[in-house]
Symmetry: C2
């Protein structure tokens, strides 16, 4: 028998404390930006409403809005435009300080700005929130255009190619015929690749970082566990949670999905250096199930943080888009797809990336060269893992700046 | 707007199909072995009931039962006994065919048996289910000895050291004073290490495989996401689910925990070779959110399979035991702990292991040598990742057999 009083009703943590189901009290059911929220630097483009936007996966949408931001000034010849594509949980706020519409500074603010590597005194930099996202561009959290309610789980599956096609419409609207460069890391790199394949005449330079030509089984495996975490949360309600009262959204499921991915975004070395085996509170004489090590607090923090600013259905949709990413699909295979690329390519890998291992960026460069294209491979030497494209900015800049200067024709 | 009929009420998979919340219909709330279930090869030892078994984490237990199996015959001098320690979801059934008490053959059946590497014509091989487990040894699913009900979440936190102490009692009962060797992989390797540190006079040879001297932050991170998956399942009910009706246990949470760990058990290469980007059904013209790639079916399969034969509370407890594993704790650090080891050590790493990377086994061998002990490092060359200690049996055997023959004194 158990000692009475020792492990019964003694205040020990038998159930997970509230940090596991984070901040369940006051949060809106979605972290999505919604009409009426502060705009911040966002601008909006409404796509033509006279015909449906047919998606690669068979769905159709009408009346799509694309949220975007720009920095710098477009030259009269429109020849200084650079498109920056964001990753899974990024958005159009690639640069600039936190503002009314964004709780944090731009995700590449160290790279983009006056006098920085992407010098906005010279370049006109554009970043658009992706289709299916949740920061102003049409996505599952958007209100339905023709009736009450939200798309929710009815938002059709989108692909990277669909995302890129909305960005091409944005380029049209901005009267940008050719991008001086299209740049992106992770899911942003997938978009950059598809840009160069779908619109070879509109991309003068291509910079995919920490990404792949086709999602591997391991990448699908990781993203699919995140989707199942969301589906496991009873507050996800099969995707119908937008009318839930504050605190009643799928925050815990989204947080867990993020925690899983956060491990894949970093590395063993960095976790060891940063957290080691430190417990949040000293272990003391009594070990409890829900006592945490520092690394757990870190993951809880990142999970909770994302669930404040993101939408669970968008997370489902965009991870699915990454799993469906395969430049060769419907094009006669990867080599045939890469043959379409006319832009010189700077392929950037990260030596400690466990999610998009550097061999994929090396294979990409090899694959482009093999079909007669021009590609250079550069490896970022960083312990930070996949996220190094957001962290090792000096190395990103060092590779990027000379590449942007090189004449292409 | 969305085209009416295209994405509304058209039979598309808006909510995850039942394979996400697996086989929710008829399964008992726990996959634990319970008194009255077929014994199979299990034998039981009941530990002394006249005094409490005080755990390293401050808890106390009375009346512990240890389930174990043996193969071969103990010599009259009791000098041919080998202890095999199982990993997280293993149990005492290390060898032998499936039987009434075990749905599958022994987890090391290719290694253990007459004429095999661990030749049971010669060795007396013992394997015990771990304390806190769910296959016959006392754990959360066990009935309370002194009143109605089950331990559930009240089962105290156990450590690897506690597990080893129950095994030492078993050795006493079997009148085995010294083990010819103590062998184990993963969590089994942690037990083997603790055996050699806690009972140096009872271990003649030590073989830890694919394990570590102390859980790293990344390992804690992985296991903690699994625990949060279980806690997220509303059917976990804070650990009180043993009286739930069939189909109403935390199967989905346990399955998700397994899916996460299953990715860490294998490797990028093997996933690519085995699954690539194959969809379960052809993608066709319409992409759906819950369509699966083959690798997802594989993960779903393994998740569902574990939830049929394991107990969610045991999963919590044993992953916590692994996170708490740190041979240096309370012993003046790792070097001081390793100095206690008198057994020659064969440290076996796996070159493709992403969960317990081979550097940990190399560091272990170095650490033992550095304090004057004797250690050899052998690396299994396999694409299979962590699970190679269960798969690459020929290489395990090739390292093991000569090591078992070597005189130690």
């Amino acid at each position: 028998m158990i000692e009475a009083g020792t492990h019964w009703a003694d205040g020990s943590l038998l159930a997970p404390p509230p940090w596991i189901q984070p901040h369940a009290s006051t949060l809106p059911a979605t972290g999505a930006w919604r009409p009426g929220d502060p705009l911040g630097q966002r601008q909006f483009m409404r796509m033509a409403v006279d015909r449906p936007f047919v998606l690669a996966g068979g769905g159709q949408l009408h009346d799509i809005t694309v949220a975007f931001e720009t920095w710098g000034k477009l030259s009269p010849q429109a020849d200084n435009a650079i498109l920056v594509c964001h990753a899974l949980t990024g958005d159009s706020h690639a640069a600039g300080p936190a503002d009314a519409g964004h709780a944090a500074p731009g995700w590449w603010d160290d790279l983009i700005g006056p006098g920085k590597a992407l010098d906005t005194e010279r370049w006109f930099v554009v970043c658009a929130n992706v289709l299916g996202g949740c920061q102003g561009t049409s996505g599952p959290a958007s209100p339905l255009p023709d009736r009450l309610g939200h798309y929710g789980p009815h938002f059709p599956v989108v692909t990277i190619r669909d995302i890129v096609r909305t960005q091409a419409r944005l380029a049209d609207a901005l009267r940008i015929d050719r991008w001086h460069a299209v740049i992106g890391g992770s899911m942003g790199g997938m978009q950059a690749l598809e840009w160069a394949i779908m619109y070879p005449d509109r991309v003068d330079r291509l910079v995919p970082m920490a990404t792949c030509t086709a999602a591997t089984a391991q990448q699908i495996a990781w993203w699919s566990t995140g989707r199942r975490a969301i589906a496991l949360d009873p507050k996800w309600r099969d995707g119908h949670y937008y009318d839930a009262k504050p605190g009643d959204g799928p925050h815990a499921g989204l947080a867990l999905a993020r925690m899983i991915s956060q491990v894949t975004f970093r590395s063993d070395d960095v976790f060891t250096d940063r957290f080691g085996r430190e417990p949040v509170e000293p272990l003391g004489g009594t070990f409890e199930m829900w006592q945490r090590f520092e690394v757990e607090r870190y993951l809880d923090y990142h999970g909770a943080k994302l669930s404040r600013r993101f939408d669970a259905n968008s997370y489902l949709l965009l991870t699915k888009a990454m799993d469906l990413h395969d430049v060769g699909r419907g094009r006669g295979g990867e080599a045939a797809a890469l043959k379409r690329i006319s832009a010189p390519t700077l392929s950037v890998g990260i030596n400690s990336d466990i999610l998009y291992p550097s061999y994929q960026q090396l294979d990409l460069a090899d694959g482009i060269e093999a079909v007669g294209g021009s590609a250079t491979y550069v490896e970022i030497d960083s312990p930070h893992g996949h996220d190094a494209f957001l962290i090792a900015i000096d190395q990103v800049a060092a590779a990027l700046v000379p590449f942007l200067e090189k004449p292409v024709r």
